[in-house]
Symmetry: C2
Subunit: 196 residues, 2 copies
DNA sequence: AGAAAATACTAATAATCGTTAGTTTTGTTT
DNA sequence: AAACAAAACTAACGATTATTAGTATTTTCT
């Protein structure tokens, strides 16, 4: 069988990760077999192990790549001297944009992290909790400065994160509206609901 | 080994379904083994088959029970002569309340439906699409009557459903606020974002 | 109490899983 | 072209899976 074709963008590992993310999203991590992944690459299952350590490793790399990406963006936003509203808007926009440009990976990170091995799962949840805590602080700050309505910060963050993380972008919807429209509408919807 | 204890509420099948929903939520459908489910009931795995047809059947019953429940509520709401805003509020409140009183089942229905067998999956998606279409019509009606802002109905519904379906109620959050607070906050957040 | 039905058990099966071993082919370097 | 490394292949393994077969036990009914 032919070798894995290395396109201009990305190494062999990148291609494997991309296909893995696509399958994990469509079928779920547990329901995706190594043989299916190999077939999507045009090789036999054992050949995969010339490139990867294990199936579990693939999920880890996907989840943590996304987590680190979101964390890096969060740090930039926190360090900026913007209002709470602007910060929240930037966070929402980043989520929507990331989800649309990197759908498979983000979706897998958001929906399949439970399948991480115990040790890695705890590390992943640390990222999550820190991330949430930062947004809670932004919302609390906005409430304190009378910028936001007097809502419970924890619930507000739960609502926002639930909305942006739960988004399922299907091909169907891709034709109904553009990413820009999705981004603007969600910002308006989620932000107008809390700004005084 | 002892028989499955039938409590005052519910038949044997109900107890099995309840435990199955709890495990499917915590670990995912594929990652939950029949042996684990049996152990949670205090019996051996093969004994389960005196009560159920298959593991897949359990997921089906959970998913469709939830789908039918939501559909029944939707029909009541549609037939009511309320404003679009009131209808939307009723839908959001129903989601939050259902999720909190029946967390495992609703969560499984929202997150594990991809594991349904092909035939049943199509039927399930029919429920989903019809459900979404009804909300889109309510939102479109609200926009037409100048009750809502001039948003794209499809995106608005995507946002609302994503928010209420993606909600993950952890024990941690249960102590931070009551269900009533969660319900009120989400209604306010999601409705204030679209009402003019 | 005895019969019938329900439900538990042990043992085992076929299928599928991720992965390893060992070998051959392909591509690269000298 | 020879040598080496990378990456493919076939074959197979051990573990785990849902499920069935066959049997013993418990509960229910008369």
């Amino acid at each position: 069988m032919a070798k894995i074709k290395v396109l201009q963008n990305g190494t062999k590992k990148d291609i494997i990760l991309k296909n893995a993310a696509a399958l994990f999203r469509k079928k779920g991590f547990k329901a995706t077999t190594v043989r299916e992944l190999a077939e999507s690459l045009g090789i036999e299952a054992p050949s995969l192990y010339n490139h990867i350590g294990s199936k579990a490793e693939l999920l880890q790399e996907i989840c943590f790549a996304v987590a680190i990406d979101y964390t890096a963006n969060m740090n930039i936003i926190i360090d900026s001297n913007e209002t709470a509203a602007k910060k929240l808007e930037a966070i929402i926009r980043f989520h929507v944009r990331k989800l649309s440009t990197d759908f498979d990976r983000v979706f897998v990170s958001d929906h399949e992290w439970k399948q991480l091995p115990k040790k890695k799962l705890e590390e992943f949840l640390m990222y999550r909790r820190t991330y949430e805590k930062h947004i809670v602080e932004i919302v609390a700050d906005g409430i304190e400065k009378k910028l936001f309505k007097n809502l419970i910060p924890g619930i507000t963050v739960l609502t926002i994160l639930s909305a942006v993380r739960g988004l399922e972008l299907t091909q169907r919807h891709k034709n109904e509206f553009t990413i820009e429209q999705l981004e603007d509408n969600m910002v308006q919807h989620l932000l107008n609901g809390i700004i005084k």
